[in-house]
Subunit: 244 residues, 2 copies
């Protein structure tokens, strides 16, 4: 059973302020919680339905589990469905940026769904790191974790002063703009940064000043733009086919 | 001013049953309404704020407009923001499938956001038609229209018995599966159908039986899948680069 106090704590972790204060975040829903368990990451506490605990009994042998009614889990969850389990997880320690190979960097991507989708994409294309500027959405926001579909366990999100990082970066620096070189023609370097800009304003001026080459997804019709997560997926696919 | 009766009618058009009964659908928000006006499509009636009507006065000379308070528009709208205008629009007449060139077809894509995003993608890649199976989301659902970001005016959505269509189709029929030929290697025919399956079950068995070639986006990491709209974007990009 989840106590009233625990319910209050779980709800508080929906907010960035409390996550930061406690160094904890939430992982919700069957798929994401099982990815977490399979990855062997530390779990502070797991609240789950008896069905979930029975189904995954073998995997959960060393995890601190609290059985809970699905309706209580739903009440404290930020998800509308699939509230079989909620894990309270310690935030990983801050890591240095690894500049080997392709580095994907986001400048001001503020929508949690977009950030989560981009983490999932990074994982699909084999990137184990995502660099985000300080004004990007919080990577520990429950909506971000949810949208990653489990990929948050394999992609290390590094929040940094993006301008300072790019100023010292030695390789090629690609940026997604309208009106750059077509990604169908571009010969991508395997050691490079790809910067994707914010939903509403694209790449900001200080970051644009660090870009060596502007790249663009060729348009064949009337749509003015693509969503930033969609554009990230298409550009990553074009980069990866150069080096497959 | 919008009368109580008009408010009731607008709210009713949020439901498929009433849209079908009246042959009308809603287009909401500044971007989508202006795309509609610019495309010269018929508008039964336009409800908009005085700011909107003033800003676009020249474009709206021949449109039947009713001035409304933003708070009333928000009350009858299905959108959470940008309720500057709501247009009531007659559904277009049903069209035949045009089988020239690339035909994009959806099998059971049920999420309105995904359908709208795919309409926007189709428009980006120059497709003027999208074929959808009978169990796909309603293309006149306000969430679909909203997600198209104006592309609904340029893409004709044809709802059909997809199995019957594919059985008579003469060209190549590609389908997106896990474990097919890599889209990075595939030589795509310019005259072909590309079928994308549903969010939860992929391509259904009767449709799979009509596919000549299974294609796959190569994965380089640990993510198990990509969202169907994302996968559609990446595959369309791969097809288009073959024929650019």
């Amino acid at each position: 059973m989840i106590s009233k106090n625990q319910q209050k704590q779980l709800r508080a972790l929906g907010q960035k302020k409390y996550r930061k204060q406690h160094g904890l975040y939430l992982v919700q829903g069957e798929k994401n919680v099982i990815e977490l368990v399979d990855a062997g990451l530390a779990i502070e506490q797991l609240f789950a339905t008896s069905e979930f605990l029975t189904k995954y009994e073998a995997k959960l042998a060393t995890t601190t589990c609290v059985e809970a009614e699905e309706e209580v889990l739903t009440k404290v969850s930020t998800l509308v469905s699939n509230n079989a389990a909620i894990a309270v997880v310690p935030m990983p320690s801050v890591q240095e940026i690894n500049t080997d190979g392709l580095v994907l960097a986001l400048d001001g991507v503020s929508d949690p769904g977009n950030l989560g989708t981009i983490i999932r994409l990074a994982d699909w294309y084999g990137l184990t790191q995502l660099v985000v500027s300080e004004n990007c959405a919080d990577q520990f926001n429950p909506k971000v974790i949810s949208a990653t579909m489990g990929s948050f366990v394999r992609v290390n999100v590094v929040r940094t002063d993006l301008e300072a990082f790019l100023k010292h970066y030695q390789g090629e620096c690609y940026g997604a703009f309208l009106g750059g070189e077509s990604v169908h023609q571009c010969q991508f370097s395997p050691n490079a940064v790809l910067v994707m800009g914010s939903e509403s304003h694209g790449i900001s001026d200080p970051i644009a000043a660090c870009i060596n080459k502007k790249v663009t997804i060729p348009a064949f019709g009337g749509a003015e733009s693509l969503n930033v997560a969609m554009a990230t997926g298409i550009i990553l696919d074009n980069i990866k086919r150069c080096h497959a």
